[in-house]
């Protein structure tokens, strides 16, 4: 998901900011899943799978307004299969892996944005 910011696109910092929100939101979703790992009948939630495609589409079209307007949402994960007789679809190990991955993604985007701010400050100072 974070690969969108790796190019030299001028919208990259905007996308990075948006993705930072996305990682924070995904962390909330995973927290809810792990909290309900033992709740009978609970269905796991995750980011709306369409969001990634919409973002990539907006980036390719260099449409800054579309990127700004994109709102990530949390929806029930319909692709997840029940792994237990009580109908709960949470797999604890998988959730922990996703959460760690989310934390690393967040760190990366954070450093990227810090770098970006530093560059702008340097540019402002050099005058």
């Amino acid at each position: 998901m974070v690969d969108v910011v790796m190019g030299t696109d001028p919208t990259a910092s905007l996308v990075a900011r948006k993705l930072l929100d996305v990682q924070a939101l995904r962390h909330d979703a995973i927290a809810a899943n792990i909290a309900n790992a033992e709740t009978p009948g609970y269905k796991r939630v995750d980011l709306d799978p369409d969001f990634d495609a919409q973002l990539k589409d907006a980036v390719q079209k260099h449409d800054r307004q579309a990127i700004k307007n994109l709102t990530p949402t949390i929806v029930e994960d319909r692709s997840a299969k029940a792994v237990r007789p009580d109908g709960n679809t949470v797999v604890l190990e998988k959730e922990l892996m996703i959460d760690n991955q989310t934390a690393v993604n967040y760190d990366f985007l954070d450093q990227y944005l810090s770098m970006h701010i530093q560059q702008m400050q340097q540019a402002a100072r050099s005058n």
Binding site: H27, D28, A31, I34, A35, I74, A103, Y106, D110
Partner: protein, 154 residues
């Protein structure tokens, strides 16, 4: 303002798992109790969980788009709480022990329906779930830390 919103959910889950572990401890402690407060053998207690909407979710569903950021996005997040502690009414083992004050006329004593292996398995499951929630809390804190660092270092 909520810097780490996931902490409410995680805190609720830690609380619920803690209650479950307390009840398992009670079951194990009373594995040999032949006289409960009602005069009969102790019956093992079972904790059940249910998913409930948290404050952010309620706000998102109630007020639509108004209020804080990320409101609408969080409409499907649910936290967890203990829905009840119920007694397992399955019969316990009957043991012949006429010397016991709780023996019936035929000399049999009804023992509690606590099975030690099952309680241990439940205890380990609960403690693993507790650890998983702690990991989430740690990750949430690390993320908030790094966001604050971004503002501080400039």
């Amino acid at each position: 303002m909520n810097i780490i919103p996931s902490l409410q959910t995680t805190g609720d889950a830690l609380n619920a798992e803690r209650i479950r572990m307390d009840v398992i401890a009670q079951n194990i402690a009373n594995a040999q109790t032949t006289r409960d407060v009602n005069g009969k053998a102790y019956q093992r207690k079972v904790v059940s969980f249910e998913a409930v909407m948290n404050d952010a979710t309620k706000a998102a569903r109630g007020s639509g788009n108004g209020g804080g950021d990320n409101n609408e996005s969080q409409a499907n997040l649910k936290t967890v709480r203990v829905s009840g502690v119920t007694a397992d009414t399955s019969p316990g083992e009957r043991v012949y022990n006429p010397a016991s004050p709780d023996a019936d006329k035929t000399g049999y004593v009804e023992m509690p329906n606590v099975k030690m292996a099952q309680e241990m398995v439940d205890l380990i499951t609960s403690s693993r779930a507790y650890e998983a929630n702690l990991t989430v809390a740690k990750n949430g804190k690390a993320m908030a830390d790094s966001a604050l660092r971004m503002a501080r270092d400039q």
